[in-house]
Assembly symmetry: C2
Homo-oligomer: 120 residues x 2
């Protein structure tokens, strides 16, 4: 069994935005840290739900019919197929949980697409 | 999409120890809150890894060859099949992530076995 993972210490290891880093795997799922700032592309994931857990700061998720605000210590599940656009006015530190291989921009692609399986 | 889940507010809704409550599902995985205090039975889960994320307080996980200490803001993955005994001297608030249907005492059973699928 690996050593415990200190989430805030791991966040100190990178500074780029919208570029998830893997810190742990459980079965075929990954736990990824990501720093959000600004606006992300609207996209969906047709094969999986996606979990956001806010570790520090605040973020929003714009959906077709509403905008959800997520603050520190809060989590949300974006259902599979649901179009969503994450954004953060100030930098926000987030823990993502999703199956291995999920691409951050999902169906949308484009320049905000990050390389997968970058471990820290 | 459901409203955001405030983890600390959810912890205010129950007081029993070693009795996980489901707060969210992602695909066939569940996110469960549990309050730990005292010692749990040594057990393993032969079919799945298990994730512990400490939201408040400190806990330990005793393995066959070492004891891992987990503090607030830290997470650990117990690999499938690995015998482990969670414990906490003072009450500790933990977020568990594991597949739907996992029994808390795994292979061990006994009086600390909790009812599954209790949502809060």
């Amino acid at each position: 069994m690996n050593d415990p993972i200190n989430l805030l210490s791991k966040f100190d290891l990178f500074s780029d935005h919208w570029s998830p880093k893997v810190v742990a795997e459980m079965n075929d799922y990954q736990f990824k840290l990501v720093k959000l700032k600004g606006s992300f592309v609207r996209h969906n994931h047709t094969e999986t739900d996606e979990v956001f857990i806010v570790i520090e700061g605040s973020m929003g998720i714009e959906l077709s019919d509403k905008t959800v605000e997520l603050n520190e210590g809060e989590m949300a599940v974006v259902p599979r197929g649901r179009l969503h656009r994450p954004f953060a006015t100030e930098e926000c530190k987030v823990l993502l949980v999703e199956p291995r291989g999920v691409v951050n921009t999902g169906s949308a692609g484009g320049e905000q697409t990050a390389v997968n399986d970058v471990w820290i």
